[in-house]
């Protein structure tokens, strides 16, 4: 493993320090934590429901890169691929609460759910109103009431953008939670990997793929997918993922949103080629794409691969996605 780091145990604190130092007008670090909070002038001048997200590190620019007016109020970074601890989340909640309550956006992993839950209990003891929405857009994992359920992956950034825009516009906590849940219910993602990520503390890719293999349905923490196949032209990869995702939408009329997300080690060039194939095929299928986005938005360290997210969107969601926002990563 070759990485540009110092000590493995300092990765997250040094990364957050670098991010804050290079974006002082946008974010500041919450003392004693690896959480960041908005630092723009408008933050202290306007009241709104706080929007806090967080999770393990290694998915940059998620989440700290989405802190800013119109998106997240604060973001909490755990160790690499490890949920942050409740006390850090609790500090972030306190830093953003302006009396109107705080919405927590949590990706559906047992660790994240439990740590955010504990933080919620701590904040509620301070009489801070808290609502939680749990993102579970990864349809490569079967949903079931008897399991952990689906994972939260790239769709999270779309949820953060829409909910963030609504919070800025003054929506109250209960409505925000309801909106967020509705967005989540309409957001579906599948990812593919050409190469697994190398977790710094582990030192080698968590699983091996042959020189001509691609794995379908991987998660953002090297979770294995549902099948390994020979790599195909981008057009065919796009076709396969679209076929699988689109059957999740019973109604294929109306407006859709597309996110082509790079996993960290795949150049923008390939992401655009894949996006071109996705949009061509959706056009052939007469599915109307009203908004699309391409880039390294929710990564998995240096994993090579992409994920495709499709969302069935209400008109107002498109407007909220298009609203300009000043963040590092959107």
């Amino acid at each position: 493993m070759k990485k540009i780091i110092n000590k493995t145990e300092d990765i997250v604190s040094e990364m957050i320090a670098g991010l804050v130092k290079t974006n002082p007008k946008l974010v500041k670090q919450i003392e004693g934590t690896t959480a960041v909070v908005r630092n723009d002038v408008k933050f202290s001048q306007t009241k709104q429901v706080g929007v806090v997200s967080g999770g393990g590190s290694g998915h940059e620019p998620l989440h700290a890169g989405y802190v800013g007016d119109g998106m997240l109020s604060a973001a909490v970074a755990g160790e690499v691929f490890t949920s942050p601890t409740p006390d850090q989340i609790y500090e972030a909640i306190k830093a953003v609460d302006q009396g109107l309550g705080v919405l927590l956006i949590v990706k559906n992993y047992s660790g994240d759910v439990m740590n955010f839950d504990m933080a919620k209990e701590m904040a509620e003891a301070d009489d801070i109103k808290i609502e939680t929405i749990v993102v579970d857009d990864d349809i490569s994992v079967e949903n079931s009431e008897f399991t952990q359920g689906k994972r939260g992956v790239a769709g999270t950034v779309l949820v953060e953008k829409i909910v963030g825009a609504a919070a800025r516009s003054g929506m109250n906590l209960a409505d925000l939670a309801a909106l967020g849940q509705k967005v989540i219910d309409n957001t579906k993602t599948i990812g593919i990997a050409l190469q697994a990520a190398t977790v710094p503390a582990v030192g080698h890719p968590s699983f091996e793929l042959k020189d001509d293999e691609v794995e379908y349905g991987i998660g953002i923490h090297n979770e294995r997918g549902y099948s390994v196949e020979k790599i195909k032209p981008s057009k065919e990869l796009a076709h396969q993922l679209i076929e699988k995702i689109i059957q999740e939408f019973s109604d294929q009329t109306g407006k859709f949103v597309v996110l082509v997300n790079g996993m960290g080690g795949t150049p923008l060039m390939e992401q655009y080629i894949f996006a071109n194939d996705v949009l061509n095929e959706l056009a052939d299928k007469k599915i109307q794409v009203a908004f699309s986005k391409v880039g390294n938005k929710v990564t998995s360290l240096d994993m090579q691969g992409v994920s495709l997210t499709i969302m069935k969107a209400e008109d107002s969601w498109i407007d909220m996605l298009e609203e300009p926002v000043n963040t590092i990563g959107w």
């Binding site: 145990e9 755990g78 949920s83 601890t85 047992s110 740590n115 952990q148 977790v199 582990v202 968590s206």
Partner: protein, 194 residues
Amino acid sequence: MELSLADTKKWIELFVQKVESEKSQLNELDTAIGDGDHGTNMDRGMKAITDAFSKKEPEDIVSLHKTVAFALIQKVGGASGPLYGTAFLDMSKKAKDDADLTTLIQTGLAGLKRRGQSDVGMKTMIDVWEPVANALKADEFNQSVIDEALTSNKALVATKGRASYLEEKSKGHLDPGAQSSAYLFEALLTVLGA
């Protein structure tokens, strides 16, 4: 039976040593069916426990359990942090009224189930805690209880935690949290002199 303060501390210290020396082993188990960090996560917690003990010597079992709980909650993160943390926090609260070892382990187990929304048979650490709690109650706690718990855990299909994403493929792998819990109870066995 109540464990003395000294024995309780020894128990935790043995656990700390074991996890620290088996850190990469735990990471490897987690690499197979999770995200490869269980050893690293637990190791952070172990260092925090040692730190906390050296900063302030626990005065009684209640504060000892609380110290352990806070170290784990504040430093481990992931799934194992809130789980072990909740278990020890609940044990600390319980110890105020009743410090019986069996009662405490049962209380910890209940905490795990509550926090994890889970139960035995889901291929988690609970698969070790529950048989140990039962064995303590029946006064039959020994190494084979742990060994058998691990063996049956290995055969299970995971339905909670990251391993559940693998469905059938999780079969045949030992759950990393079950292994770290096995270390916890093996340390207890040593202290009990069994």
